[in-house]
């Protein structure tokens, strides 16, 4: 079974790549639409190796290096993510400590992710100008609520277990209750929130850069698309998707370990 699963998974991936290689080579798709996978991978290699994007547009714009875009994207993700974790976690604790507050905010939290929040981006640009601030603000708004909710849920789940009773009957002080009961008990759920927050802030930052910006990997994809630099565009797409998948796999691996430790 295990072997068949792996064979099926990798055969599918391989078949997909093969189709992407053959379609443009056979002339079924124009090269302005899709370059063969091999060409894209070579281009990605060149960009990574030389550290510059081979494009007259980015040379003129004064941002020819990959580092200038990578640092913009990573910086925005990091700041919005840190904000979401540092503000969202204590807010989640508050929500758990004050159940009435939780019940008041519950309907708003449930529908929060229904709102197409990227609609705010043009308004933020109007208010703060094109650049770092609107991107970070949007990333923060997109990521913070999942941290709040998961923190509150995780702590509430610990309350439903027997451990807090054990702690109280052992006469633990409040600090000890937090450190040795609630922190380890809620850790996997809180971590799930942190992981999702990372995913959400990444999605938001890349999407904002993609829509309106002057730097960042999303910007590279957008500009390459508009300038018909297809190989550059796909190289940047693969870089973004590969990077996010890698980060996500690592976070999921940590998450699984946390859950198995609790159970």
């Amino acid at each position: 079974m295990k072997a068949r699963i792996l064979v099926l998974r990798w055969l599918t991936v391989l078949a997909f790549l093969l189709v992407l290689e053959v379609l443009p080579r056979a002339g079924l798709v124009r090269p302005s639409t899709l370059e063969p996978v091999s060409v894209i991978l070579v281009r990605l290699g060149e960009i990574l190796f030389s550290g510059t994007i081979p494009s007259p547009y980015f040379a003129r714009a004064g941002t020819p290096t990959l580092a200038s875009h990578l640092s913009a994207t990573l910086g925005s993700i990091l700041v919005s993510y840190a904000g979401a974790v540092l503000i969202g976690t204590p807010a989640g604790v508050l929500l758990w400590r004050f159940p009435v507050l939780a019940r008041i905010l519950n309907p708003y939290l449930v529908v929060y992710y229904a709102l197409p929040i990227f609609a705010l981006y043009p308004l933020f640009i109007l208010l703060f100008g094109i650049g770092f601030l609107p991107i970070v603000l949007l990333g923060f708004l997109f990521a913070v609520v999942v941290v709040i909710v998961n923190t509150a849920l995780g702590l509430r789940r610990v309350d439903e277990e027997i451990y807090p009773k054990v702690g109280r009957s052992l006469g633990l002080r409040p600090v000890q209750m937090y450190l040795s009961i609630y922190l380890p008990g809620a850790a996997p759920f809180v971590f799930s929130g942190w992981k999702l927050a990372f995913v959400y802030s990444t999605i938001s930052v890349i999407a904002s850069e993609f829509l309106i910006s002057v730097r960042g990997l999303g910007h590279v994809i957008d500009r390459s698309y508009r300038n018909f630099e297809t190989a550059n565009m796909y190289a940047a797409i693969i870089l973004v998707i590969g990077g996010v998948m890698l980060a996500n796999s690592v976070l999921t691996w940590i998450e699984r370990r946390l859950y198995t430790r609790v159970e």
Binding site: R4, I5, L8, R9, T12, V13, V29, T33, L34, V100, L101, I104, L105, N106, P107, Y108, V110, V111, Y112, Y113, A114, L115, P116, I117, F118, A119, L120, P122, L123, L126, L127, V145, V146, V149, N150, A152, L153, S192, L196, V199, T202, I203, I206, A207, F210, L211, I212, G218, I221, D222, Y225, A236, I237, V240, I241, V244, M245, N248, S249, T252
Partner: protein, 257 residues
């Protein structure tokens, strides 16, 4: 719950909305109407947009794209979800990759949709569907895999046929899980459609956002945002009511992931 507490929560919920309005008005008065118009002004612009019609045709375009996108998202999502949920082989092979794909910024793939479909409405429908099908599929296969195996045993000992087993055992058992996926799927479809319109289009609410952005027309941007948010809230009210009916519980639990 005591009457007193319920009253407290209701008034608290109203207070949240009031506080939001007050903060909005305060910020608006600080920045000036050029940048951030207040709630009243935004509402006036919204009504103007509906009366004089500069918003109406774009709203229809977006609604059309969202509805078609959602129909595709539900259809494809349910098909993928049931296929993966029913087969351990497919589950093993594709669960991880699909979950990983769900987490990538799908917006980067929009140029592919523009290339594969036409620039106008079809690419937005496809992109919206691509966003929305993930939660539908994921919640469907999760519901199927967490189904109580005893139910299936009972069905087998009653010698139910495949179709009958699905209709009267599998479907009711997985429905509560699926309806959550259906709601989240709608939200992502709407997000995908608006994103697609914002990136490249000549019609729709996302297009309006970008063109009013370029024209520095804050009050019209806000009016469009308001309409989009109200659309999202109305659709969610419907889907949440459906969710409560299916689950048969009055209280919603928090779950957003």
């Amino acid at each position: 719950m005591s009457r007193n507490l319920s009253w407290k929560i209701r008034s608290g919920q109203i207070a949240v909305v009031c506080a939001f309005m007050v903060i909005w008005q305060f910020l608006a008065s600080r920045t000036g109407p050029m940048f951030l118009p207040g709630p009243a002004s935004a509402l006036r612009t919204l009504l103007d947009g509906l009366q004089r019609g500069w918003m109406v045709s774009h709203l229809w375009t977006t609604l059309l794209e969202v509805l078609w996108g959602y129909a595709w998202a539900v259809g494809v999502g349910l098909f993928v979800g049931f296929s993966i949920g029913a087969s351990p082989l497919l589950f093993g092979a594709f669960e991880g990759p699909l979950l990983n794909l769900y987490a990538v910024p799908k917006v980067t793939l929009f140029p592919l949709f523009l290339a594969a479909f036409k620039l106008g409405i079809p690419s937005k429908i496809a992109f919206g569907a691509f966003h929305g099908l993930f939660p539908v599929a994921i919640y469907t296969w999760t519901a199927m895999r967490t189904m109580n195996p005893v139910h299936l045993k009972v069905a087998r000992s009653l010698r139910l046929g495949r179709l009958e087993t699905f209709r009267s055992v599998v479907f009711p058992a997985v429905l509560p899980g699926i309806v959550v996926g259906l709601r989240l799927g709608f939200n992502l479809t709407l997000l995908g459609v608006v994103l697609g319109e914002m990136f490249a289009s000549r019609a729709g609410m996302g297009f309006l956002l970008m063109s009013f952005g370029a024209a520095f027309d804050a009050s019209r941007i806000l009016a469009v945002i308001l309409v989009l948010f109200m659309l999202a809230l109305a659709a969610n009210a419907l889907l949440l009511a459906f969710e409560r009916r299916v689950k048969g519980i009055p209280e919603l639990h928090l779950r957003v992931s």
